[in-house]
C-alpha cells in the first residue's frame, strides 16, 4: 500500500461515507464502494421520481476501479474523468453533497449547476462529456507535472468505447515520445452505450496501447484489493518517471447506459451481479460490520439528499 492509501478524506466530507478513523482498510474500502453504489442508486431513483432533469451515467458495478485507483493518488495529482465520473469523483473527494447539489442544478453544486452530472471540477479533479478529448487534456496536465518536476501524476479514466476516438492514439504517441507521467485507466465494461466491444473494436485492446510504446497492465477483476495492488504499482511506476502507462481493467456495468436504455442480455447482466465489487469484497467483512456500514452510509446519504433538496 502506498502511504496515501489511508490519507484522510478532505475536510467537510462525512466520515460515514469516506472512512471512519481507525477502521480497517477492508472496512474503509467496503464503505467507499457502498457509498458510491448507493449514491448512484439514489440518483437513479431521484430521476425516476422526476426530481432531477438532464441525464446521468451511473457506474454501478465499477465502484472498485474508482476506489482502487484513487487510493494511490496524493495532493498535486490530477484526475480527468469522463461521462461516467461520479464514482471517480466521490472516491477522490468524498464530496457527496457537492455532487448531489450539482446534479440537482443547485448553486451549491461543485460547479454551481453549470456542469451537471458529467462536467465536474474540484481541486485535483475534472471531467468532460466529450469522448476522447479528455485524454490529451490529461496528457497536458502530465506535461505540466513533468515541467514542474514535482513527481505528480495525471490519471485519465476512459471506457472501452472511447478507444474509437483517434485523439486517444495521437495522445498515446505523444505521451510515450515525451515520457509523460500519465496513467490511462481504461475501464473496459464490455459495452459502449448499446454496442458490445466486438462490434466496436478490432484487433487486441491491450496491444493497441503497447503498439504506441505505452506499457499496459491488464486485469480482469472486480476485487478492490487485487485492483488496488495493481493500481498502486502502476501509479508508482508512472510517478517514478518512466513515462505513461495503461491500466486496463476488464469489468462490467450493471446498470443501463444512462437512464433507461439497456438492451443487453439479461443473463449476462445477472451473471455479473454475482461477482460485483460489493459481493466480492463484502465477503471479507462479517455480516454485522457490513450492515453497520450499510446503515451508516444510508443515514449519511439520506442527510445529503435532504440537505441538497433543501438548497436554493
Amino acid at each position: 500500500m502506498s502511504s496515501t492509501a489511508l490519507a484522510p478524506a478532505p475536510a467537510g466530507t462525512d466520515e460515514r461515507l469516506t472512512g471512519v478513523p481507525g477502521e480497517p482498510l477492508a472496512h474503509r474500502r467496503y464503505r467507499r464502494m457502498r457509498f458510491i453504489r448507493r449514491f448512484e442508486e439514489t440518483l437513479l431513483q431521484l430521476f425516476e421520481e422526476g426530481a432531477l432533469n438532464g441525464t446521468t451515467h451511473a457506474c454501478i458495478g465499477q465502484e472498485a476501479d474508482a476506489v482502487a485507483v484513487t487510493e494511490h493518488l496524493a495532493d498535486g495529482d490530477h484526475i480527468f474523468s469522463n461521462h461516467r465520473c461520479h464514482g471517480h469523483y466521490l472516491a477522490h473527494s468524498g464530496d457527496a453533497l457537492g455532487l448531489m447539489a450539482e446534479i440537482m442544478g443547485k448553486e451549491a453544486g461543485v460547479c454551481r449547476g453549470m456542469g451537471g452530472s458529467q462536467h465536474i471540477c474540484a481541486p485535483g479533479f475534472k471531467s468532460n462529456g466529450v469522448q476522447g478529448g479528455i485524454v490529451p487534456n490529461a496528457a497536458g496536465i502530465a506535461l505540466a507535472n513533468q515541467l514542474d518536476g514535482d513527481g505528480a501524476v495525471s490519471v485519465v479514466f476512459i471506457g472501452d468505447g472511447t478507444l474509437g476516438e483517434g485523439v486517444v492514439y495521437e495522445t498515446l504517441n505523444m505521451a510515450a515520445l515525451w515520457r509523460l507521467p500519465l496513467l490511462v485507466v481504461c475501464e473496459d465494461n464490455r459495452w459502449a452505450q448499446s454496442t458490445p466491444v466486438a462490434a466496436n473494436l478490432a484487433g487486441d485492446m491491450a496491444a493497441r496501447f503497447a503498439a504506441f510504446g505505452v506499457p499496459v497492465r491488464e486485469i480482469d477483476s472486480t476485487d478492490v484489493e487485487e485492483l488496488s495492488t495493481v493500481a498502486g504499482e502502476e501509479v508508482a511506476a508512472v510517478r517514478a518517471g518512466d513515462g505513461p502507462r495503461v491500466l486496463l481493467i476488464h469489468t462490467y456495468r450493471l446498470c443501463h447506459h444512462s437512464k433507461s436504455d439497456d438492451e443487453r442480455p439479461q443473463d449476462e447482466i445477472d451473471a455479473h451481479w454475482l461477482v460485483e465489487p460489493l459481493v466480492v469484497h463484502g465477503r471479507r467483512l462479517d455480516g454485522a460490520d457490513r450492515s453497520r456500514i450499510d446503515d451508516e452510509v444510508e443515514a449519511a446519504l439520506a442527510e445529503v439528499v435532504a440537505t441538497a433538496r433543501a438548497l436554493p
Binding site: G54, R112, E165
Partner: protein, 336 residues
Amino acid sequence: MIFAKELNDTLRGALTGDRRVVLLGEDIADPYGGAFKVTRGLSTAFPQRVRTTPISEGAIAGISAGLALAGYRPIAEVMFGDFLTLMFDQVVNHMAKYQAMYAGQATCPVVIRAATGGHRGYGPTHSQSLEKHFLGVPHLRVVAASLYHDPRTVFADFLGRDEPVLYVEHKLLYPQHLTSPVNGRVGDLIAGSDASPGALPTIRLSAVPAEDCSVSVLAYGYQAHLAAQVIERLAIEEEIFAELIVPAQIAPMDWAPVERSVAVTGRLVTVEEGADGWSWGAEAASVISRRLFGRLDRPVDVVASDATVIPSSKTKEAAVLVGSARIEAAIRAAAN
C-alpha cells in the same frame, strides 16, 4: 406520427427506394435503434446498409465521404450535434471541397444528420446548436428539420442533388407531431409556401393575411415551432400580427421570401437557438439591411442565445437559451 417516426419512415423509404443509400452512426443498430430511436428497425431490414459504428466521428464522416465519392448516398448520424466539431475537417476540407477542387469530376453528396439543441438539461457538451459554424462553408448546404417540412420532401431533395448537406434535427422536435401545411393552413395559422425553382420550400405562417402583418419573424427548427406558438398567442391576445418565415435550407439562403415579407412589414426579427455573435441571423440582418436599405422601419433584431456555455441546471439553462419569452419580447418590441 411524431417527428422521430416520420424521420424513421423517411429513412426507411430512402433505403427501400435507392440502393445507394447507406446509414452510418453510433449505436444506430437494433434493438437500440439510435440514441433518439430515429433508425429503429432499419438495421434489421437492411443489415448491410445500416451500420452501427465505433465512436469515431471523424472516420464516420470520412468513410461517408468516400462512399459518396464512389456513387453511394451515405447518411451519417451524429448522436449529439455537439460532436460535429469532430467532423469539421472532413466536412470543410474533404466533402465540401471535392467537387469544385476536382473541377467537377467527382461529387460528394453526404448527408450528415445531427441531433442538436438544448432545453433538456443535458449540459454544456450535449445541448449546443453549433450549426452556425457550418454556415458559409463553400459548397455545403445546411438544412434544418422543422415541423412544417415533411422530411420525405427534404430527403428526396438531398438524394436528388449532388452536394453534401448538414441536416440539423433539434432534439425537442422528435416527440412533436409533423404539421406540414394542409389546405393553406397549419392549425389556426394561414400557411403559404414559397420556393425558388429547385429549392426546398420556405413556409410562411401568420394569423392574418401577410399584407396585414406588421412584423416578419425568420426562424428555423424548434425555434420556429416556438415562434409560431408565440405568434398565434400574440394575434389572439394582443392583436399583434406577425408573419413567420421558416426556411428548410438555412445556408445558402434563398432570401427572396424573406425580402418579400419584410418589404411589407418593414420589420424583421430573426430567431435562433445558437449562441449570439456571427450567428445565422447576422447574415440575415446584413443581407436584408442591404436589400431593403431605407425601407426598414427599424433595425433587424437578431435574437440568439447568450454567448456562453449552456448550463445543466434547468433554471440556468432557461436563462441562457432563447425560448418563448425572448421571442415574444422581441416581437412585441418590433411591433411597437
